[in-house]
């Protein structure tokens, strides 16, 4: 993927760019909003990571202008952590996801990967499956092999989110946002508790575990 990172803090920009390059992405860095906008509208990028606070042209206006000029690829907005309003304004202004600074690289990487799979293919699928685990999104039925797994509504949503991203890491914060709409850090083990409940329901007897914990990053559903 060709990614444009628009970030004025040199150290953070270097850190993010190096990390993403190590995962095989092509990263270009721009240090101000005006330059970023110019490059987004004149070059070809698959994804933009834009800091909310930028010199010359702030990130939000930049995204809005880029969208108006026809830039269609996903945008991940990096916001300051004290900005409740920035998040809403960012999503309304054309960003696809946001990440509160400071963040761990795993968090950023998980979100970049989730955005990078757009246009979403799996989101239109009605049945998701990983190994012998199937999730019927219309009838809201989960089966492990032939065995029907009884899940609470929110457990179903959580498993659905993981399976939509099967093979990719979904972070704790992403799950809090998407399953419970928690846009704050609850500082407890909400996600962990639910994951362990789901695990106990889908991995029975000698089943191969399907939900894997990626330490410091999040969870991934995959066959091995």
């Amino acid at each position: 993927m060709r990614i444009l990172l628009v970030e004025d803090d040199v150290k953070t920009a270097a850190y993010v760019a190096r990390g993403l390059r190590e995962t095989g992405q092509l990263v270009e860095v721009s240090a101000d909003g005006r330059d970023g906008l110019f490059r987004l509208t004149n070059e070809d990028f698959d994804l933009a990571i834009v800091d909310r606070m930028l010199p010359e042209l702030d990130g939000l206006s930049m995204v809005r202008s880029a969208r108006a000029a026809g830039f269609a690829a996903p945008v991940l907005l990096l916001t300051a952590m004290d900005a409740i309003q920035d998040r809403v304004a960012g999503l309304e202004g054309g960003a696809d996801d946001y990440l509160v600074k400071p963040f761990s690289f795993e968090e950023l990487n998980a979100r970049v990967n989730a955005l990078g799979r757009r246009p979403p293919i799996r989101e239109q699928e009605t049945t998701l499956s990983v190994s012998d685990l199937t999730l019927d999104r219309l009838r809201r039925i989960v089966k492990r092999g032939e065995h029907v797994v009884d899940l609470q509504p929110r457990e179903f949503r959580l498993l659905e989110e993981l399976m939509l991203n099967s093979g990719r890491v979904v972070t704790r914060t992403m799950l809090l946002e998407r399953v419970w709409e928690f846009h704050f850090d609850p500082g407890t083990n909400i996600v962990e508790s639910h994951i362990s409940r789901i695990r106990s329901k889908i991995d029975r007897g000698g089943d191969v575990p399907l939900i894997h914990t990626m330490r410091g990053a999040g969870y991934v559903v995959r066959a091995n």
């Binding site: 409740i84 400071p102 419970w180």
Partner: protein, 450 residues
Amino acid sequence: MLSVRTERLLGSTSFRLSAAYAALLVIAFLAAGAAVWLTTKTAAEQEVRERVELEMRSLQQEIRAEGLPAAIAAIRTRLENPGALEYRLIDDTGALLVGNLTVGTPTLGWATVRIGDAREQGNETEDFLALTELIPDGALLTIGDDLDKAEGVRASILNALVWVAIPTLLLVIGGGVLLSLGTARRMRTLSDAMSQVGLGDLAGKVPETGGDEIARIGQGVNEMVARIDRLVVNIRRVSTDIAHDLRTPLAHVRQDLETAGRSADPATREGIRAAQARIDEILRTFQAILRLAEIDAGGVRARFVQIDLATVVERVADAYRAEIEETGRTLVLGPLTSTNVRGDSDLIAQALANIIENAMRHTPTGSSISVTLRTSERSLGFAVQDEGPGIPEADRVRVLDPFVRLDRSRSTPGAGLGLSIVSSIARLHGARLSLEDARPGLRVAIDWPA
């Protein structure tokens, strides 16, 4: 039963003042009445004495010049005139020679005689002032006059006084009440504003109009509040600035650690992870400080929409159910009746989440935590009740201040910002946060005015 309003009016300083003035006025009227009564009484008596004495001189002269029979004839003639004085002439044996003063055994000199009014055949009595003198031949002549004639004048004056007094009193009391109402209202505005300040709302202003001492108190209060506000803002700004400025270097440290961790051996990586966790903890505290500042700034209010507390309560309670049950506690969720308020659902969710986390942190395993919606005529909101040790009454206000942690909470994680955030969120919504003794346990509630 007096209504609160009436009670408050009766208790107001200005009402007390006007009541005191009215009382003084009543005393003044009574004194004036007494003075009128005494003066007229003395004047009337004096007049009667003069008339009686004059008549006595003239009759004595007549007796000396023309003898007793002529005097008797003269008295008879006088008695025929209406409005005449009263006479009584008795000889030395006590037999009545002439006169209509029939009662009493007069002694020499002045005396007051009370007699039934024989002429009217009624039971009325009349007071007479009578002068008795010895005349030659050893007979006694008594001349008297009715004192009550003066009484009529006196009564009219007193009457007039009463008629002036009653409207004056009514005016004073009525005017006093009206003035009290005005002043009482202004004083109430002032005291309400001051208790708001006491509760931590430094944005409220007291009216300064009127140019009188109340207005000056208002100005004083406003200046004081403005100064307190500046100080509080400064303190807040310092902590916000620290959080803001240290965030970037801390983020850099975190990034460096992360980078270093990738090439490190497993043992070092463990140490690095621990360091990262500590940095995350600091960053979380900073995040809470900055979040607090943002909530207090009030800008979020522009995004307020109608939300159903039931859906927020369901979502948050559901999120915590697994963890609450995992730690051996029970979650009791009350009926989810639709409860609409204006607000920001993210922030309300955060407030409820903080309250529930607080309950989990401070209650023993095996206890239950109940989350309920509550609606009354005056308010609607939600309450979280636990079976923990509660918060002593004296600490209930203090625990809402940032960084305040009660001694027994030192061993549990957290920076003491959770309830401050809850408090700020409630204030932002114009809702009331209350910490109540649930006997046993603590009940934390947020109520919106209905």
